[in-house]
Symmetry: D2
Amino acid sequence: MKIQAAVTPAQGEDFTIEKVTLAPPKLNEVLVRVVATGVCHTDAVARDLGISPYPIVLGHEGSGIVEQIGENVTSLEVGDHVVMSFAHCGQCENCLTGHPTVCSRFNELNFGGRMEDGTCRLHQGDTELSTFFGQSSFGTHVVAHERNVVKVDKDVDLALLGPLGCGIQTGAGTVLNRLKPAFGTSIAVYGCGAVGLSAIMAAKIAGCQQIFAIDVHESRLQLAGELGATHVLNGKEVDVVKEIKEASMGGTHYAVESTGVPPVVRQCLHALRPLGQAAIVGVTPEMNIDVHNDLMAEGKSMIGVIEGDSVPRVFIPKLVEFFKAGKFPFDKLVKFYRFDQINQAFEDSANGIAVKPVLRLA
Amino acid sequence: MKIQAAVTPAQGEDFTIEKVTLAPPKLNEVLVRVVATGVCHTDAVARDLGISPYPIVLGHEGSGIVEQIGENVTSLEVGDHVVMSFAHCGQCENCLTGHPTVCSRFNELNFGGRMEDGTCRLHQGDTELSTFFGQSSFGTHVVAHERNVVKVDKDVDLALLGPLGCGIQTGAGTVLNRLKPAFGTSIAVYGCGAVGLSAIMAAKIAGCQQIFAIDVHESRLQLAGELGATHVLNGKEVDVVKEIKEASMGGTHYAVESTGVPPVVRQCLHALRPLGQAAIVGVTPEMNIDVHNDLMAEGKSMIGVIEGDSVPRVFIPKLVEFFKAGKFPFDKLVKFYRFDQINQAFEDSANGIAVKPVLRLA
Amino acid sequence: MKIQAAVTPAQGEDFTIEKVTLAPPKLNEVLVRVVATGVCHTDAVARDLGISPYPIVLGHEGSGIVEQIGENVTSLEVGDHVVMSFAHCGQCENCLTGHPTVCSRFNELNFGGRMEDGTCRLHQGDTELSTFFGQSSFGTHVVAHERNVVKVDKDVDLALLGPLGCGIQTGAGTVLNRLKPAFGTSIAVYGCGAVGLSAIMAAKIAGCQQIFAIDVHESRLQLAGELGATHVLNGKEVDVVKEIKEASMGGTHYAVESTGVPPVVRQCLHALRPLGQAAIVGVTPEMNIDVHNDLMAEGKSMIGVIEGDSVPRVFIPKLVEFFKAGKFPFDKLVKFYRFDQINQAFEDSANGIAVKPVLRLA
Amino acid sequence: MKIQAAVTPAQGEDFTIEKVTLAPPKLNEVLVRVVATGVCHTDAVARDLGISPYPIVLGHEGSGIVEQIGENVTSLEVGDHVVMSFAHCGQCENCLTGHPTVCSRFNELNFGGRMEDGTCRLHQGDTELSTFFGQSSFGTHVVAHERNVVKVDKDVDLALLGPLGCGIQTGAGTVLNRLKPAFGTSIAVYGCGAVGLSAIMAAKIAGCQQIFAIDVHESRLQLAGELGATHVLNGKEVDVVKEIKEASMGGTHYAVESTGVPPVVRQCLHALRPLGQAAIVGVTPEMNIDVHNDLMAEGKSMIGVIEGDSVPRVFIPKLVEFFKAGKFPFDKLVKFYRFDQINQAFEDSANGIAVKPVLRLA
Ligand SMILES: [Zn+2]
Ligand SMILES: [Zn+2]
Ligand SMILES: [Zn+2]
Ligand SMILES: [Zn+2]
Ligand SMILES: [Zn+2]
Ligand SMILES: [Zn+2]
Ligand SMILES: [Zn+2]
Ligand SMILES: [Zn+2]
């Protein structure tokens, strides 16, 4: 079928919306009409840094409605409302034991440009277009494997839900699936973008006693406070480590680092108490770490977490339930754009004007 | 009373055995006649780098026999065979929940030079001598708080047991108390000194399927093999990361890094599989870490561990049981010295001639 | 000193308030002026069933102010506001690893009638009076070991806090320390007395998605709803198991059974989903259990929990913080009585007129 | 195709080997030539108690060689050596999070008599024959879903491996996947049949310090000793609870109850120490339990475990590795029979003559 998709023709180029061809779903795959799709930092990375082969249709936070099911699909029906998440093999040790975010084929299936069977579903004339995260949601329709298509409640505004498939589940899952804060503990969240703010909402759900939000933008800190932060700290204005250590009587039990900025990563470690755990979820470059003093001498940990260590088909429907109950108001992070505003949406995301841009496709 | 002790008069100076005065035990303290004491890398650090005030009597792996008990001591009797371990307050959140190695007063009580009540037990003339690790075991007698004095089985050669109080429990506890390897998993141990070899013996007890030992000395690798390593790798001769990844089908589930050498720390991270955990137990300087690629992208963790996260009064008697049963033959690491050979023992330790020197005092 | 205390002279007899003698605190003990004390079901059991030697001064949920400290007390000062909890030895494997509620000397120290050193602090003429739970809080003053005396925030009404030492921590700790509900899970709480209602408040803190409260008194169910239950079920009116299974899509992940009534215990097991865990905290007699069908066939567990598996000096101050923040409003359970109304308070507790009676002593 | 299968024509009747028709594998299914199959207690239950519809071909511990693969099979190839385990849906919350033994469709898929798609693969004339555990291994060939077909190492005698799919993994997994014994702990295993002896081998792998084996047959106790039990107790001759409590200084940390005999279940609870955990894996009838005294008063747990809480495709290959390494010598439990001796094998199993009968089919 013919669809409209935002093509990234080559490294670093702007998105151009074009007519492309989408092949029908194969075994265990479904065709989804995309209603909306989030814009995530990883899309910008893939546009600019060549982590997947070009030309490519990016987008990996799609939500939509199932229009057709391929052979052997048992978990989905035509008309289902769905969110699409990352691809994973379902067969490796980590997949089979409930950790698909560290699937042994994660990079190949999400960044390799092909579907699980090694073929493409998208073409432009004779040219194959790479698939991204097993979905390529920057298009009016996608074909995806049922394994990364999550059925969701129809009572919720479907256009909002796409970011649950990546950015939102990354922040929320890091807290709820991986750190699992013990009762009466404290957490510091560095960076109040979509990931950090989701971590803050999650920390509130988990009953953390103190939730520190750290950012350099007052507007984001204000939003952090509305979403559950008990203390907000502007990294430009205060001595973050000192403030946290004082208010938490010696440092926080947990931290979520989402900025990827080396001096902030170091603050994050310094402001932990003995035995504290820092989850690293930002894209961080090579940096200097004083391993003995910042980590070992007080039994601290740095824990890399991808996609919130979540099983999307289990975790995302629960997030939707908490959203419905008013306990996970991630809609406050969303700013809608028309599909043809895609380049603007990326710019606003990069400038901090939008926390979580979402493109409406239908 | 008058005792013989190896005094460190000032930073960087050799030990000199001198007659000093030891005050009697106060409330909850005991007087122990030292039978033997291990020599640990941290003693050399304290001798050379000024982490505790001089003059000081170092030594923190003492074993001996209780000669006198202070008021209010209920857990020990005169004649008990004991091992001395690190000091801790017993009152803070971490102590009360079974993690005394991250006691909030750990540094003060072990490196501050004073007993828990702020006074000294050792004097030389009018000069106060600092206490080390609440014991100062480089002397013929020590006074220690009952909290860090561990009663042990009398059927075992007491002269061997001192190192259980620090170096041996560090390696063994890191595996058995903190990493707790899941069934059928693999572990890599970097550095085959006393800590690393103890980790290897522990990994064998825990039933690890593959145990990789990495060092640059063939003699240590041979000992590693005798103690349970299933694969030994000389870091000077082979590509360690490549060998481990191949043999373990993608990297190990766990690692224990005991060398503190930055390039080895990086190897340790590279050779982990997705979701792998590296326990950091070596004294490591500031170093460059590629946080995204080496840690986050595959959900790996770096976990600082002190003293094996052990509760000495629980853990050490169990290690002794396994030693008695032939399953924890840490005696193979020990090389005995006379007390007056203390400077030689440190030299042999630094040169790698002795894995774990033990000074006999009685 | 002379104090007023409610003496239980013999099995099954009413309390009589009499003048008795209290010895001064010994080593590590403190003298506390009791401000108030909760009335717990275990007091009635001890009055009626001979589990401790008579004559005895019962009471084990005391709160008060430290008036005098014995030798060697370091964690408390005169004037401190305190809550008293259960006695434990502090030396056994379970105590040292953070599980004092299963101390190997628990029964001896709490029900044996003597302090830790084997002596009594209370006398009436020449007659020794047994101590209960290391405190005997049904008196104007008590002597207790610092280990079971918990310092609390002075900004809170001290008269309310005694029940944190037993009944409230039992319900809250069972959820927060032992079950630790995973995100998005469901829990059913059977019995809405002080323990059950505390479990409900805790489940709300922990972010449970569904909280079922089951009781046969509408007033208690209403209170349960105010405190956080999302579903309330009157066991006299509805088919509890059927309702829960439907609303929770197959049964709850967790349950807390506080009634001790065998048919309710069975309901509790039936209404769990596969892999579900039931914490047993009620005093339950011998009863018939269909081990295969009710437990094994779906991988369910029955978990006995005492005193919420809590470390009082860590857990109770945290509960106080949540109370201050309005998130743990256990004051709604409390009904105050004058000390001389003690027999009335017990009657009201037995009849269900009072959820948690508290006697004011000062 | 025509195959030979042992049909159970109706409740309680002997097996009769007959020629039946096997349909080819459908999507995601494979055809396996059965080399051997274990005989498990559950087969006898299904023969005698009507838990699945008759006529039926029982058998659920098959091993064999893949002869044909259905469409969409990616994890298996013709010629692969395989073990077949229980069926599970792969889609429910428990399956997706690594707990397929408590799959929400477990009973339907294993005992309902049909494959996952609701149809049968086996016929006798016009009569449908029920499938058992998604395999029906009492036949020369089976068709099974790739999800419950586990590829195994070809270097091992394939005829031995079938019991890994149920009885052996039940005992071993209960210890290694569910109880995960902490270092230096003790365990008691009640009943030394295939399940109990597998638990003993597993406890040895896990490094338990004390392993108590309890049975009433000396031959089984001797085998238990050979496989790793440190203490063997004949329940007819000694006071089991007293002996265990003495030798373990207060009771064991863990227990595995595989007899299903109520008085033994009670012993199992009595001989636990405070905080002890008893895994229940035997088929136990309704029985009296003193919930307060035997469970709650000392914080003990009863934990139902099915199929060792294992993920067969992860766990079974690891068991094979340990078998190859000589650390899991489950072959000592196996007694081989010809296929036409199937009724004899069941009789020998019931009489205790064979611990684990295995029928050779090829
Ligand atoms: Zn995978
Ligand atoms: Zn993303
Ligand atoms: Zn401490
Ligand atoms: Zn040391
Ligand atoms: Zn204790
Ligand atoms: Zn009570
Ligand atoms: Zn399932
Ligand atoms: Zn079976």
